[in-house]
């Protein structure tokens, strides 16, 4: 049962990321950096932060094996966000010798994810 729910959450997260990626790439055609996954990763990290903040109002601690955390946090938000696309897109920029876009893209992705998570966590208090 747990495996089925995890698979569903992960599949749904990946599917939503794929569809959003197509929509966002139409909107951000002229951007110097690959914006779609930057947006998705920041939004997904915000979502995980918000989830953790809200869930911690119901349970005292989140255990790594907590089923709700596993399904929503690790399953859905884990699969909705991605690291492999970040690596490949940064590598492609480096391969094209687009040094500054590569630096901006990698820096903004990491900062966006961490700040997004913290912001989501903080906004659970409101």
């Amino acid at each position: 049962m747990m495996i089925l729910l995890l698979a569903l959450a992960g599949g749904a997260g990946a599917l939503l990321r794929y569809v959003l990626g197509i929509v966002l790439s139409g909107w951000t055609k002229d951007a110097a950096i690959p914006a779609p996954m930057l947006i998705v990763n920041t939004a997904g990290s915000y979502g995980l932060g918000l989830f953790c903040g809200l869930y911690l109002q119901m349970v005292p601690v989140i255990q790594p094996e907590d089923p709700v955390y596993l399904i929503a946090g690790v399953g859905f938000f884990g699969a909705f966000t991605t690291f492999s696309t970040f690596s490949v897109e940064t590598f492609q920029l480096l391969r094209q010798k687009s040094w500054m876009p590569a630096l901006w893209y990698s820096t903004l992705t990491i900062i966006g994810a961490v700040l997004g998570f913290l912001l989501g966590y903080a906004s659970a208090a409101f």
Partner: protein, 126 residues
Amino acid sequence: MQIHVLAAVFAGGALGTLLRVGLNTLFIEASFPYATMTANVTGSFLLGAVTALALTKNIPLWLKAGAGAGFCGGFTTMATLALDTVVTSGLHGGAVLLYLGGSAVGGIAAAAAGFFLCYRRGGKSV
């Protein structure tokens, strides 16, 4: 967007998520996020390979999307990297730098390795 492409992304994402969760259980007692780092670096290698194969071989879109955006995307994660960063920074500042630097540099290098390995085999000169 064709339904069989979306189904492949869903299935790939579900499979990637289950593998990532399985990897997490191997390192459940670890104080350093080895599991996420391992998933992110190996997933980046695989996506680099998929990207090169898609450029050099006639791979149908459903397979490319299912393996790339689905499996590699679902296996790797940015939201958990953000969470790990926040949790680890509360324990040890040096560990955070090692984690973020190792994930980013390791992921990009792995993507490059996967790409060039399959790009050469595809008969293209680098």
